[in-house]
Amino acid sequence: MVVSPLKPLPALPAELRAHLPAELRGRRRDGVRLMVIDRAARRIEHAEFARLGSFLRAGDLLVVNRSRTIPAAFPARRDGGELVQLRICVRHTDEWHVLAVRPDPPHANVALRAGERLRMDGVDTIVRGRRADLPLLWRIDAPSDGLERLLRTGEPIRYSYVPAPVPASHYQTVFATEPGSAETPSAGRSFSWELVLALQRGGIDLAHVLLHTGLSSLQDDDVDAEHPLFEEWFAVEARAADAVNRAPRVIAVGTTVVRALETAATGQGQVQAMQGWTRLRLGPGSPLQVVDGLVTGFHEPQASHFDLLRALLDETLLERAYREAIAARYLWHEFGDLCLIL
């Protein structure tokens, strides 16, 4: 799909990139800010995330992603001795698709060679070649003890705006169950169980689906603007499908949940239980079938995240929200503030 670019937007000031999670900035996990965009009224309000419940009503269904984040960046040594960092994007049973970067910031992309051998913590793997559809991703043989190996040697993927390592537990949402996400499904990261249990007491329902995220960035603006072109594993179980089909209003927590639910949509405004790889691409001109609202973080406009928002917001409102988020000094990225679109 060819997407018309938005008008040039002001650049994101560097100091608005959240460099630590709220709970390491002396606040609570849920102590972030919330921008509320009311699409019908075309109104933007500013609030605290802990007050989320005051913008919802009994019967609303919040759908969260229960995927657990894995330490998806791990070191490998090339035959010549050069150390590289591999970042897992897609894990198939016998083949991983990885981005190869330099081990030190700013982690520039590294070109590997088809057929070359990489040594990872005592075992060898072979680079099979580039992915035909996404040449920045390298296909490598998956080690037989893949997940165990990652858990032993991997680190969370960290971008330059997070200057120091953050303990792995802060990359997990409080819903984290089956491991598999290369990066945190970050819209859910600010939820606390104290908040969720209070919402439930207020009649707001909770359902969960699974979508293992790939990389949010292949570190190439043109490629990132088209992302995600790669497949992500997802599961929508019967229980979640029933809850979605019954709910008067479905609010997805994160674009990963939108992708999972819209993949499982039947075309008649319902979802069915389903699991598999999704390659669904959402954007302007692809109206959402089942998702009525979204809790999401603030991510940069060249990322495809913005495209998905355009399935929910027209350009005028999206641009207004972007400018207001910068003017009101919201924090961006996976440790930043949140936005509720209704």
């Binding site: 858990l151 032993r152 169950t177 598999g180 249990l197």
Partner: protein, 238 residues
């Protein structure tokens, strides 16, 4: 088969009560995730569990990375945990020194194993339990938590704190389907007991296999009104 279809994670499963719990839960049909520091002893216990699936993960519960591995591998294998037993315990230096003489590093170590690890492991798993609104967590405590025996310093402090952790957590979980208990197994004929009280008469000590049956009763009867309390194994379900 009272635990058919359940998934139980047991720490410190290579010896003593942990080993008996693994065998008893496995006999009742539970799928198991077991951890202990010693790989060989852990694999031995895994081989003694008849008929149930077993995931054995060598892990030192003091290590956050090891706990992450344990949790991730367990959830990868089974997609959920129904029963968590925080059983791994460390007694500290023996013969048991007075607090006045206790090596500070040893004190920290006992608290790491007996208090911090149960907090971390429970925190890592409770979200997946709350999503399903179902789960049982048992923290293994001791009468040292409530009695001031000379020499039991760090151990007693850690178990008293573990009971406090259990009470607070139970209050926070009161409206949910997840229950948390502290269970005192009583004096048992185990390596730890021999290390603490070398001259005890084994004939008056409970056998861990019998105590494990009380844990099965607690899990299966699921007494919600007992959540948060310190329970004595001998009194459960009697």
């Amino acid at each position: 088969m009272q635990l058919e279809g359940k998934v139980a994670l047991i720490t410190g499963a290579s010896r003593g009560l942990g080993r008996s719990l693994a065998i008893a839960f496995g006999r009742e049909g539970a799928a198991l995730a077991l951890c202990a520091r010693g790989q060989k002893a852990l694999e031995q216990v895994a081989s003694e569990v008849a008929g149930a699936p077993v995931l054995a993960v060598p892990a030192d519960v003091r290590s956050m990375r090891h706990l992450d591995q344990l949790v991730a591998l367990t959830l990868d294998r089974y997609q959920r945990v129904d029963i968590l037993v925080n059983n791994a315990s460390e007694l500290g230096p023996t013969p048991l020194p007075y607090l006045a003489d206790y090596a500070p590093a040893a004190f920290d170590d006992v608290l790491q194993v007996n208090l911090v690890a149960p907090f971390r492991l429970t925190q890592a798993l409770i979200g997946s339990m709350l999503l399903r609104d179902r789960g049982v967590i048992i923290n293994v405590t001791s009468d040292a938590a409530v009695s001031g025996y000379p020499g039991w310093g760090a151990y007693a402090v850690s178990k008293a704190a573990l009971e406090g952790l259990t009470r607070t957590w139970a209050a926070e979980l009161a409206q949910t389907g997840v229950r948390i208990y502290a269970v005192d197994p009583g004096d048992m004929d185990t390596d730890m007991h021999r290390a603490a009280i070398p001259d005890a008469d084994p004939s008056v000590l409970a056998r861990p296999d019998d105590v494990a049956r009380a844990f099965v009763r607690l899990v299966t009867t699921g007494a919600a009104d007992l959540a948060g309390q310190r329970l004595e194994a001998t009194a459960i379900g009697r």
